[in-house]
Amino acid sequence: MSLDGKVPSGSLAEKWTRYRGTMNLVAPNNKRRIEVIVVGTGLAGASAAATLGELGYKVKCFTFHDSPRRAHSIAAQGGINAAKNYQNDGDSVYRLFYDTIKGGDYRSREANVHRLAEVSRNIIDQAVAQGVPFAREYGGLLANRSFGGVQVSRTFYARGQTGQQLLLGAYQSLSRQISLGNVEMYNRHEMMDVVMIDGKARGIIARNLLTGELQRHAGHCVVLATGGYGNVFYLSTNAMMSNTTAAWRATRKGAYMANPCFTQIHPTCIPQSGDYQSKLTLMSESLRNDGRVWVPRSKEDAKAIQEGRKTANDIPDADRYYYLEERYPAFGNLVPRDVASRAAKVACDDGLGVAPTGLAVYLDFASAIERYGKSAANSKGIHNPDAAMITKLGEAVVEEKYGNLFEMYEKITGENPYKMPMKIYPAVHYTMGGLWVDYNLETNIPGLFAIGECNFSDHGANRLGASALMQGLADGYFVLPYTIGQFLSHEIRTPMFDSNTAEFEAAEKAVQERLEGFMNVKGSQSVESFHRRLGKIMWEYCGMARNAEGLQKARTMIKELREEFYKDVFVPGGMNDYNPELEKAHRVADFIELGELMVVDALDRNESCGGHFREEYKTEEGEALRDDANYTYVSAWEYTGWDTDPVLHKEELTFENVELKTRSYK
Amino acid sequence: MSWFSNFLTSSIGRKVIMSLTGLFLITFLVIHLIGNLQLLNPDDGMSFNIYAYFMTHNPLIKTVSYLLYASILIHAVQGWMLWSKNRKARGGQRYAVKNTRAVGTNSFAASNMGWLGTIIFIFLVIHMYQFWLQMKLGNTPMVTYDGNEVKDLYTIVADAYSNIGYVIFYVVSMVVVAYHLLHGFQSAFQTLGLNHRKYTPFIKGVGLVYSILIPLGFAIIPLYMYFMMQ
């Protein structure tokens, strides 16, 4: 069955403007009578809730955190893209659109991506007006830097804490709407299910995490802004509580899950150091602006380093293999994330890795320190500076640019990255897949919207750096608040909903029974141990490289794991108080089911594209080999239950404005 | 006046009162010390007694002295109120391990201003009883300089400082004052919002010197009188 993305007609550049100008509106007096439920308060959720509140809708906003400001958007480091062309380096809306489509390996919807590029400019303006302290030049104007996969400088940043500052901006706007009474905020409330009435999403069941109380919340529509599902891998750069439950519950109610196998493995993370590890820490991609990635050329040297007999500084330059610079001269260390990650994996698979585990490569700032040191000496009028002076000056420049990242690295590893190259290894970071949405960001369930990382929309098979913040805020500030009107304009006669209906009752009962189910297993293994095992399966067979055989195996293993989970999990504590273990239990149960769907999706897609690399489909040089003839579609999966195979719905992708080319960063 | 009462009852307003009264008392200490140093003049107390006469008879100084008494009372009462409110804010359950660090101020002084202030208040009560009240009640012997009869406060002071117990009490109290000032001096400026990257180090420097020199000056007097003038 084929899906309709509801892309409006007209030329690419005019679609959004025209559509926006002709869209149905909801009059202010009617907005006051319409209730919108927003789940999640990250960049997308907070910006959407705030904007909808400003527009006059009655908004109920939910987060499982103790405060909206804790959402994991806060951890984004590097920056946010916008086609401002402030640097006069040839950037434009079209170029941002093109880079994003190409970076996504031609698996995203042209019209959505173009709209994203268009509104990117408004986001910067909005953020500045909210007081986001973006980096500035001496003249007082906004500064930019460049990111992987592009050749212009269009990334706006606030030191290494861009996500934090943007989220605080959105959080503050949301707080203002809360104080004005336009948004009713529910902290420490987790969405447990979507409630459907006559085929439309009309509310949610939420659990108060402090008291365990289940609550019914009705509304005219439901917006999910609940983030990605990277934690299906257990170890990822996601926060510990990031989960798929809201999206997965929607999937179980009939929403389609699109491209779940498209996961992004970020190339620059701090490598795992032991089995006790609970999460991985990202080192911003911006570091690749100045850091050079290398491994020793010889296995002997690599082995010596792994065994601690040599250090990076013992390897002369000629014996270092700067594999990104050598293999991809055009982009060098700034190739897109999927390419950089795979190259690191190849190097480590070849035995050239550098940590005791053999799973790490170097990110070296020595050349940058020298280059900056010389230029700083020059600008200070110091002629013939000695090496120590150059290093000192250079380190100061590097510290100004990346100081907080270097500090974080040192805190975690105990090594000084100014003196010794950083060790990095790829880690799961972002999920391009998510709930299928049309051009209006509405899922196939009427009245159920999905925004931000929660949906699948704009990044195709690989997301470019600094684009997640852009998409989250684009959806929340500038897209959803308009497109939601397309649905709500038909609802102005619908009275406020009563949550005492049979549908709400049934949904609440189902949630209650499900939670009791977890408590009553009374087995012997902790929730965490199941999560860890699921993560290992996913990383091993559905991680940076996949193949049919492994995926088949993974599917069987996941099925067994699920069975064991429901037989032997142990959840301590009670249901009616604060019980993080119970929260984890239902989240992990959902991860297990989603994990299987990811494997099914990866098996279906017999090609390599972006973050999805099937070992059977590669060029002679080992690069990803796309199959445009057969796979230029979005895989939207209808979940039909644990014992049956999911049903695939395809949304064919048509490219009218760009030519499908093999991505080359050489 | 609602803005004013709102201000006075706000947390910052209360602190500003502490700051302003504190600064006034700091200024007073200098004048008080200059006067007291007259005690060290080897003239059998004449310059001190004349100074005391001047202080108690000049109408301007008399007015200022009422301001001073008010400041002391306001500073003390407000201080105790803050102390009690802050204890309440801290809550019933205290930390099992206490480990207060500070930046650019003495953490012992900073976290014990209430205790230090209370000790100073007790000192002041005794101090006032001993000298000021005696003088006011007219229990003071008289002495005549150039035909003017003035109260011989010097003799009272000299009497007191011949008692080693009093001397120790005074000196210890001055150590307490020093600690109180060590934090209070710079804190008063911070509360008024007078913090500047360039000038705050200067304020802190002056504060440090002040909080050592002034109490030292006061402490020297009884010591000198006890050891040298008997």
């Binding site: 003249g139 273990e581 | 099992a96 919002g193």
Partner: protein, 251 residues
């Protein structure tokens, strides 16, 4: 490494609470929270209730974690959140006392977890710039001096963890409040409503039952983002000038 942990256990807000002693086997590369994870896994395997503590990003930015470790919020390392503290700072045989934040405005609801929603209410009172989506002019329309912007950023780096309140002998929230007020007041776009903001935020802060700042500076000493008390002076200044100047209405 073998460690002895003395951890505050409290079943509910009403429970009196007490210290319990545990032994745990840790590894120097672990983070502090991973060490607690190990303890919790052990407790679960013994069918006991794990220690409740809050955490999320584990990279020092979300502000969810915050334990008082041997009397110091976020433990002994300067400028470090609890989640970024690593066990290499301890040695075999150490005893570590772990307590929740203490303060009337931060009530404990279970073990080491406290309610910090007072901070949200302070931001709601005025910790924002009143601009609706779509009202903004071009981002480069107002040049902002680099240094000024950097100062605003220093204040904006606050993660809202509440360590300042926990560290303060008076349980004052002035560093948190002043960091937000300073961040916004230092930028031209936020300066417009800085007077009203100062009044509104301070009013809410006082209502929440935080203590009053006596410039102890323990907040700055323990702040994982090393936010300076000069922000407190700036808020004092804003508050004073808005009090003495034209009357500002605070809802």
């Amino acid at each position: 490494m073998k460690l002895t942990l003395k951890i505050w256990r409290q079943k509910s807000p009403k429970d009196k609470g007490r210290f319990e002693t545990y032994q745990v086997e840790a590894n120097p590369h672990m983070s502090f929270l991973e060490m607690l994870d190990v303890l919790n896994e052990e407790l679960i395997s013994k069918k006991e209730e794990p220690v409740a503590f809050e955490h999320d990003c584990r990279e020092g930015i979300c502000g969810t974690c915050g334990l008082v470790i041997d009397g110091q919020p976020h433990g002994p390392s300067q400028g470090t959140t609890t989640c970024q503290l690593h066990m290499r700072h301890y040695k075999d045989g150490d005893t570590i006392v772990i307590e929740p934040y203490r303060g009337s405005a931060f009530p404990v609801f279970k073990d080491l977890a406290v309610d910090r929603s007072a901070f949200d209410r302070i931001i709601q009172a005025g910790g924002y710039i009143s601009v609706n989506t779509g009202q903004a002019q071009d981002g480069n329309a107002i040049p902002i001096e680099k240094e000024q912007s950097a100062r605003a950023f220093d204040a904006a780096a606050c993660i809202g963890c509440g360590a300042c309140v926990a560290a303060c002998p008076n349980a004052s929230a002035m560093l948190f409040v002043s960091a937000k007020a300073s961040h916004l007041a230092l930028l031209p776009q936020g300066e417009v409503e800085s007077k009203r903001r100062a009044q509104a935020m301070v009013k809410q802060m006082d209502l929440e039952g935080f203590g009053m700042c006596s410039n102890v500076t323990a907040c700055e000493a323990e702040c994982p983002k090393e936010i300076s008390v000069e922000n407190i002076a700036r808020l004092n200044r804003e508050f004073l000038s808005s009090t003495l100047g034209t009357e500002v209405k605070v809802g």
